[in-house]
Subunit: 246 residues, 2 copies
């Protein structure tokens, strides 16, 4: 079994002993049945990771004694923000989970003309809290020491306005006016950061597409077939890393 | 709304009127509420597609009058067979759905040393029948005129034996002895066909990995993070198409 990893956002390089969040202590001691002395890793979500050992053997007293800092899983050379049109609950969770595994730096849930998810599904803070939890769980599982930030739900226009000057990539359905993801120009030269925009299930309105292109976005189509909204982020990210280097 | 697509495996180039399977007739007439004269497409699952019009307006009498054969969605230049270690029901359905969208030629569900799905889940023919239905549904949705074959559940050793001489790619977890998917050698030269092997959730046994390498397989790691078993096929296929061309 791989070594369990715990996310502790407050850990600093000087800490010798780290108290564990209650849920993690419970999971390590009760579910995984670890004992004092067992290996545990701690990461801070900002790219640092430490090897340590469990101290205490009850869920209420468990802590980690830090042994040494270790090299975290490598991060991509390009800082990618994924902006994704709001999808249903399970689809959105899947996108956040997969985008975290695939190395994005930040995720922005986005309101676009064709978003069909009712506003009550994301207007309260509950959705963002859940998405952040999904990002943490995915980072734990995939071995990543960085947890992508999950931004507030943002309207498309605002996002485009804020991103002027960035490297912009808009995923579109197969059709005229779009370059294919396989074309070298999509990924060359390699930027230091990029905003990748994926629409909701209904795709983009023609106004949105025009506005993005006017702001300098490259409209990219992901092969000749129509992809599901929650699969498109995996495909565009993989294609970009394959071209840019993982 | 895009034009509804119907899969009729028995259609030939000479047919002028095609009777619809009962479930499709019901879907077009009762669910989508199409009328006589509305556009419908028909594909044969082997790469041919026709434009046509609905005739009859009851679920029991609906048929399609063929207007003309049309160019199908482009198929990849490489015929990829995806062999995937058996996963749980929902995961397996997702892999078949996504692999179909991503242009594989065939899918082989595979028994490997670390498959943890109980035999009763796939021993009867029910699982294969369902997987084939998933492949058809995905081809309909993504606009593809080819439905990948879903082979019988096959042991890893048998598959490897049958595939000697093919271009073999084995997806492995990050670690020594594997080349990274971003490395040009993985995709060069472009083969005419390839067998891509993705393990079950527990990964490969060391015997399996040795046997695959001895058979000429390239062990490929998909970036520095650990991917979920049902995401790995999407990532390897996308990376290969990006390098080979969609």
């Amino acid at each position: 079994m791989s070594v369990p990893r715990v996310f502790v956002s407050t850990i600093t390089a000087n800490d010798r002993v780290v108290a564990l969040p209650v849920a993690d202590a419970h999971h390590l001691v009760r579910v995984l049945r670890l004992k004092a002395g067992d290996d545990v890793r701690v990461f801070d979500g900002r790219g640092h990771e430490w090897a340590g050992r469990l101290t205490g053997s009850s869920a209420s007293s468990a802590a980690v004694e830090i042994v040494n800092e270790i090299a975290p899983a490598e991060e991509p050379a390009v800082r990618v923000t994924l902006a994704v049109g709001l999808l249903g609950r399970d689809q959105m969770d899947a996108v956040i989970r997969d985008a975290t595994m695939l190395g994005v730096w930040a995720i922005v849930p986005m309101v676009t003309a064709r978003v069909s998810v009712p506003e009550r599904a994301w207007r309260s803070g509950g959705a963002i809290t859940r998405w952040r939890r999904v990002a943490v769980a995915s980072a734990k599982q995939c071995g990543r020491a960085v947890v992508p930030t999950v931004g507030a739900v943002t309207p498309f226009d605002t996002l485009l306005h804020l991103s002027a000057g960035s490297s912009l990539i808009m995923c579109v359905e197969p059709g005229p006016g779009a370059v294919s993801i396989g074309v070298p120009e999509v990924a060359t030269p390699r930027p230091t950061s990029a905003l990748v925009m994926v629409g909701p299930e209904g795709g983009w309105s023609s106004d949105e597409r025009r506005a993005a292109v006017a702001a300098g976005a490259t409209a990219v189509q992901l092969g000749p077939r129509i992809l599901r909204a929650e699969t498109a982020p995996i495909v565009i990210l993989t294609a970009l890393w394959t071209a840019w280097g993982w």
